[in-house]
């Protein structure tokens, strides 16, 4: 394999003592700047855990209660910090339990390196105890994977793993290491990987494409921006803001792009997609130029592609060439890192304000406010709504919290109403929609941003998929705030059953345990509220707490999330009720 290397400090003395593969793995992690990893030990990875014991002053290992939790924690860590998250597991079931997290990281472009133990080289293919073909299993859900069977391969492959995970469009990498490779000794030298000849992570910006894009932007009467996570991954928040402010173009975001620009910025017109804001969805089909930046036209964003922005010219700023023209045809594709391409286009675009066009967004917002938002945030009915809980969290945290959401109604409400002042603040499972994501992801998020408030907002369904990770919060006293919005239902599925399945509520009623008692069992301060008069003070108390805090909010059981673009419908047909 042709790779280019750059020498880094050698982590051990110059006499080049031989070390074991297991110790080499630790040195590789340290050389890549890893100081925390999440995992679960087992037979085939024990030599590495033995080294982790020896290196615990330099490398913190967090024992999650399930390997899936380790991947989501690593993802949460990566998403808030912009660094590579690391998860470790043993062979067989340990490895297969990583698959959901890998798939989640793959579709949401999260840099993660997973290390799995494997049975010894001589036993491969013998159906040995806890042998599984994790390379075969993980291939479709990893950016790259590799099985190491010789200790000497460890430094080169580990260097390549980190390089691939974090460069270009990031993603998860899995390195499977047979037990003999962990035990055998070799002379360790570590060189960071700086290039792989068959891999072109960032296409070079094409000046002609940038000029063509600028021409379209300067002549557009009703242009609209939709940005995605590419802006955050590319650290292009400032460049996007400068571009938006100079051109005066209304800018909307996908769920993964949330928080890249301040929620209260006057040119931020809200979220697109199935449960996004009314204005940006409807006006997608009225704009004359759609400028997509670091987003991939997911079906939850576009609705029916046959009726999506057909009237508009499309400019697509994108790092991944395979995304261009995949779902929506681009008139101009600007390949490259958005930080660089937005910076290049800035001097070419004219100052503008697009006032009339902005008024269209304002009018649509007023319609949405009257029909939906007012009732979500300032409800007059007796029961609590999810929206008012989010609003109180905004107020209590000053829009500064990292909001980690799970999947379902609370996620959509959370992303609709949570306000952000800082980038990398909205951590959610966007592409895969992994229930159970939030609790472990919040643990990782807190560890990746200890100075920030981290609030996990979870439904009663998803919470019970990874509830065991409360053990990590207890053991390590991780001061995350957990809010379970409990409607005793799988709310989003229930909503679809109500709207599209003639109210046949198949398996969506949840008979729930006493969540407060469970949290108490883990010695986590906890409270349950169901009345509006308790909401503000309890959330203030929760945010003020320096410790982990669990809050169960009993909300209306049968509320629905609107606006909604029914699956397969056009963005123009967004329903307000």
């Amino acid at each position: 394999m042709e790779i280019v290397k750059m020498k880094t400090e050698e982590p051990q003395n110059k006499t080049k003592l031989k070390i074991t593969g297991a110790e080499a793995i630790i040195h590789c992690l340290l050389a890549e700047g890893v100081d925390i990893l999440y995992g679960y030990p087992g037979g085939a990875i024990m030599p590495v855990y033995d080294e982790l014991y020896k290196f615990q002053d330099k490398l913190t290992h967090i024992l999650t209660r399930h390997e899936q939790g380790a991947t989501h924690a690593a993802q949460g860590y990566a998403r808030v910090s912009g660094r590579v998250g690391v998860a470790m597991a043993t062979s067989g079931p340990g490895a297969t339990n990583l698959v959901t997290g890998l798939a989640d990281a793959q579709i949401d472009s999260t840099p993660m390196v997973c290390i799995t133990g494997q049975v010894t080289r001589a036993l491969l293919g013998s159906d040995a105890f806890q042998e599984t073909d994790i390379i075969g299993i993980s291939t479709p859900v990893t950016k790259w994977n590799y099985q190491i069977t010789k200790a000497e391969e460890i430094p080169e492959i580990m260097a390549k793993a980190f390089y691939i995970a974090k460069t270009g469009r990031p993603g998860p990498v899995l390195v499977d290491i047979t037990k003999n490779a962990q035990i055998d000794e070799f002379e360790f030298i570590y060189e960071k990987c700086t290039a792989v000849r068959s891999y072109n992570p960032v296409p070079k910006p094409d000046v002609k494409a940038i000029e063509a894009a600028a021409d379209l932007i300067n002549s557009a009467k009703k242009p609209m921006i939709v940005w995605g996570q590419g802006v955050i991954l590319g650290k292009a928040e400032e460049e996007l803001k400068a571009f938006v402010e100079k051109t005066g173009i209304p800018a909307a975001w996908t769920i993964m792009g949330a928080s890249a620009i301040d929620s209260d910025h006057p040119l931020n017109v809200g979220m697109v997609g199935m449960h996004g804001n009314y204005g940006p969805n409807v006006l997608t089909n009225e704009c004359d130029l759609l400028i997509a930046i670091g987003m991939r036209f997911d079906d939850r964003v576009t609705g029916n592609l046959d009726t999506y922005a057909k009237q508009a010219k499309v400019i697509h700023f994108e790092i991944d060439k395979a995304e261009v023209n995949k779902n929506v045809r681009a008139d101009v594709a600007v390949l490259g890192n958005s930080k660089e391409t937005l910076d290049l286009i800035l001097p070419l675009v004219n100052e503008n304000s697009h006032e009339e066009w902005h008024n269209e967004f304002k009018k649509k917002y007023e319609v949405e406010f009257e029909a939906v938002i007012k009732n979500d945030i300032h409800p007059t009915k007796e029961g609590l709504t999810m929206g008012e809980v989010i609003e109180q969290i905004n107020i209590a945290s000053g829009n500064k919290a990292v909001i980690v959401t799970d999947v379902g109604q609370h996620q959509m409400i959370g992303c609709r109403y949570a306000k952000f002042k800082e980038s990398k603040s909205n951590i959610t499972s966007g592409g895969l929609g992994t229930m159970g994501f939030a609790l472990p992801a919040a643990i990782g998020a807190k560890m990746g941003a200890m100075d920030r408030e981290v609030v996990a907002i979870i439904g009663d369904g998803g919470y019970q998929m990874t509830i065991q990770e409360l053990g990590v919060i207890f053991q390590h006293n991780v001061p995350v705030k957990i809010v379970v919005l409990n409607n005793d239902h799988l709310g989003m599925v229930r909503q679809w059953q109500e709207l599209f399945f003639d109210r046949r509520y198949a398996s969506t009623v949840m008979v729930n345990p006493d969540f407060v008692k469970i949290a108490e069992g883990y010695h986590i301060e906890s409270k349950r509220i169901s009345k509006r008069e308790d909401l503000q003070s309890t959330i203030e108390e929760m945010i003020a707490s320096k410790n982990p805090y669990f809050l169960e909010v009993k909300v209306e059981k049968e509320d629905n999330v609107f606006p909604m673009i029914p699956s397969g419908a056009s963005v123009s047909d967004v329903r307000l009720k």
Partner: protein, 176 residues
């Protein structure tokens, strides 16, 4: 959109897991691989996959994009039949007595520009290279006499346009 035949050429590192990764791209999209050939290429240490599919222009672009995205893939191309020179190879195993008893067989071998590879006591083997329809024709001609075994290879092809892998690799080494 109309389906048609495409030949996808993939230049890659010689990596053990890559075939799995590439075939998964087709599997996920329910696109059948009609033929697959892997060999060395004109560049030392670089492998070449030649994959034939019957699909639409939209899907072949999608697939080639996804293939090229794989870390060990250097570059992927797709071409229509008109844009390539392509061939397949076939072997026919036939009972030896027919070679002597049936004059027609010798004519079939000659007319089809094929060669006898080996003659044993019980059987002989004919090799034929050419387009799929030429091999199919020959198969039909030989069938009435009885074919003991038949096998046909995947398509191999070269494009009429240049596939600039050497330049691409040179550029890489100049940059780093």
């Amino acid at each position: 959109m109309k389906k048609q035949w495409f030949t996808i050429s993939v230049y890659s590192e010689n990596n053990v897991g890559l075939l799995n990764r590439i075939s998964g791209i087709f599997l996920k999209r329910h696109i059948n691989i009609e033929s697959l050939n892997v060999s060395k290429s004109e560049i030392d240490g670089v492998s070449k996959f030649t994959i034939v599919v019957n699909t639409t222009d939209k899907w072949v672009r999608n697939i080639v994009g996804q293939i090229e995205k794989q870390i060990e893939v250097i570059k992927a191309f797709y071409h229509t039949d008109e844009e390539t020179i392509y061939q397949e190879s076939a072997l026919f195993k036939i009972a030896s007595n027919l070679l002597f008893d049936e004059r027609r067989i010798q004519n079939i071998i000659k007319e089809n520009n094929s060669q006898i590879v080996t003659v044993a006591r019980d059987f002989f083997v004919i090799a034929k290279s050419g387009r799929r329809n030429e091999i199919d024709d020959m198969y039909e001609q030989l069938k009435p006499f009885g074919i003991m075994q038949f096998v046909r290879s995947g398509r191999i092809s070269v494009s009429k346009e240049e596939m600039q892998i050497t330049a691409l690799l040179k550029e890489f080494y100049e940059e780093v």
